[in-house]
Subunit: 347 residues, 3 copies
């Protein structure tokens, strides 16, 4: 990726300046000039690296980085100037942002865009090529609507939102400030509401919308259905990775993060500061309290009232061994009865 | 969401009129005017609510709804006029539809659309902005093709179909009447047919198509591959939620419904009136008979010949406890042998 | 599907010619003219079928195919002329390709396309309607960019690549030669890099890109995030089915194939010639050696150092039975302790 991947090649900052700006302790030569970031293994002249995962600690001595960000206890193992941080990953994130090259998009509406007569777009917003904006929708100041996005009826895109490309807001979707949505995401599609009537499915009208709080991020190809009567809600600073499915009338608490491919069924309520592992499932009409961690591929089948870590599934095994365990799982009740019966006979 | 979410604010219907129209028993004042629908908890003046899930029964007494739809056995608990229904949810769906505000789209082809010279579009159909329609494809009467849809070669979009936005029909996709497809869905992509040949993968041409029956609904970002030789088939009134993957040559029986994130591998055959829970998996080349229910995140690994409910997986547990059970799962065969061996020794 | 589904109706090839071209042994009348391919069950006059899966062996005698491709041991069961192949499926794939009708797309840029001033497109490439190509990106000879694709900044689309429709390459995505990408796929979106800072999430800049090797195929609605510092990498001839999620900095070895809905978390390294079953999950920061097979819906939680087949999960059961086994799983540690304790007492 060359210079582009490591940031703006024209920017150079002294290590001492970074220490001061982010309140980090400096050890070693503060005059070292930093012009980019890299991993411990790949870093070269002018690049700063970091150590957060102890798994990579042995790379510290061999790193060719100009400087490294470490915890105090790792500082002695470094052979370069160091910045000491309580949380090296978060310090790295901030320093890295200084060197990030971000594309800028001009204010104004691309001539190809298809705008409803009553759609409102702030003059400072950017509307890219092949964008559609429907009736009664509004795009606020500084928002960036990338190529191919479809914004349907009665939507609001808040200040400084960024819809990267090919995002769809179907209807009644309201985004707060600074929401970032990745390509292929679909918000506000009709929820999966069905009633069986005389042998055929009947659609239950989905009259609600989707309300997304400030600073949320929504991953590529993630889907968030609109509510049946009330809204589907993401509170502020919710972070959703790619290919997540959020059913109608779900509520996700502030600062909760979900890894890729999580599926949340309708009307589930998830607390604040929860961490949902990849491909986990959450069934409908249950509640998770704040600060619940769910491990990858767990199915959450009932409400959780205590913070903590929750799991389901079985460990990965070599297939032939696994087949034997799996066969025994089928007989588990009989086995347990036998053991308990023996117990009684033995006692 | 205000008036929009609760339907057309100009429409008002007397409760007695609703009772008569849908064959429901009225108890209480039939002159009450209904102008919208809402949940028990949120309903206010002029709104009708319903009670289907017994979990919410305690909301009945406190509801500020103008009227409620309930089962006969719940009627006494209501403090408002009631409509009595055998199936309150289905009655609610029908009443709710009366108050739904639906966007209408004008007949005709948006000037931006890119149409193959031999594509045929009925004059009553709506073709939105940035739509592409390929060679030998046809769009029938009353169909709505929303913004950004791509219809490839040799496709048929039946009467009154609705492709909301950014739907792709790749090639040889034929939709019956009244099919509704949500944004991001992809039908007719080449199935995953691979043969290993001298250490490299060889693509197996995917020469079939996709045939979708009348009244099917296909969720956002769902994918349905075209067949290798024969077609992939959805019979009538199949309901697929978001992010479902249907492999090549799968056949899904009429009136079957699948919740979000289900994955069905190639050449599986699924019966009629099946209910497939969220994120369930169905392996290839197996058959499910009619009226099979599969619970969420179950992996169906062999054919099912009896209607009923099927499951796999383990219950969710607090992580430390779960680790202990999971560790024991590894040893399950040895454990069972020990128990059975003891049994023999004891007897 | 008629003639289109079974290939070009004008092409006719003698069976003997097919035998010679692909080095297959012919038994029976080599003058039989073949004009298409079909399944054993559906084949009629002029069509060649194949038998690879022994499950369908009983269809051999009744097939109305003009000829069949079989293994030597199945040749006697056929009632038609046969081609004998070591691997009938791969032989069929090659023969089938002869009869495939492929749409051709003219060289040149559709007038609707929105091109950055410094984007470079080879004159032999096809750029379809409503395509966006961003700053500093390049499309090489013979590439086909279908309708609605979005190519962002600093991307390279190699010679003879095919982006079917509505594919997004966000930024710093480099495709080798002959890569085929299906609709809705998103490559190069920002990886899910988050650091918690004073109670709010902080984005970690995603400065890397995505590098895709020659001859890779990427399914519909699959997502591949760009790397945080280094690139996310697919080596040559990797085959990804639909709705797969590949996290940032993952590396997938050459010739590895993944079935639909697999989720791979960040920084995982997967070897060459691996086969990953549908909806399997692979956690972050682990390594799989070459030639690992993972069965459907398995969660891979730790590194795998030996080639072989690996699994997790429990077998599908009738729900009432399953509930009993699942309840016992909760108590498994206590059960094992009891058995082991008895063992000690008994010995």
């Amino acid at each position: 990726m060359g210079d582009t991947a490591t940031g703006d090649p024209r920017k150079k900052l002294a290590l001492a300046e970074l220490a001061q700006r982010f309140g980090l302790e400096l050890r070693g030569d503060g005059d070292v000039l930093i012009r980019g970031v890299a991993t411990l293994a790949a870093a070269g002249a002018g690049q700063i690296a970091f150590l957060a995962n102890p798994k990579y600690r042995n790379q510290l001595a061999e790193s060719k980085a100009a400087a490294v960000i470490v915890r105090a206890e790792d500082a002695d193992a470094a052979t370069t100037p160091v910045l000491i941080a309580h949380d090296p990953y978060s310090a790295f994130a901030k320093i890295s942002a200084l060197f990030e090259t971000r594309e800028t998009y001009p204010a104004g509406i691309h001539p190809s865009a298809a705008m409803a007569a009553d759609a409102l777009v702030d003059p400072s917003a950017h509307i890219g090529p092949f964008v559609t904006i429907g009736a009664r929708s509004r795009v606020e100041a500084g928002a960036v609507i990338g190529p191919g996005c479809v914004i349907g009826e009665d939507c609001i895109v808040g200040t400084d939102c960024e819809l990267i490309a090919r995002v769809t807001l179907v209807t009644r979707v309201r985004l707060g400030r600074g929401v970032r949505i990745h390509p292929g995401a679909v918000l506000g599609a009709a929820g999966f509401g069905l009633a069986m009537d005389a042998g055929r499915w009947l659609n239950v009208p989905q009259l609600g919308g989707v309300a997304v709080g400030d600073d949320c991020e929504i991953g590529a190809n993630t889907t968030i259905d609109r509510g049946a009567l009330d809204d589907t809600v993401l509170e502020e600073d919710v972070r959703l990775d790619n290919q997540i499915q959020i059913g109608h009338n779900v509520r996700v608490g502030a600062h909760t993060a979900m890894a890729g491919c999580v599926a949340v069924a309708g009307s589930a309520r998830i607390g604040r500061y929860c961490l949902i592992g990849g491909a986990a499932g959450i069934v409908g009409h249950i509640e998770l309290c704040d600060k619940v961690t769910v491990t990858a591929m767990t199915l959450v089948t009932h409400s959780i009232r205590e913070p903590g870590e929750y799991s389901s599934g079985t460990p990965m095994m070599e297939n032939r061994q696994w087949r034997r365990s799996a066969a025994r799982f089928r007989q588990l009740d009989a086995l347990a009865r036998k053991v308990n019966g023996q117990d009684k006979e033995n006692s």
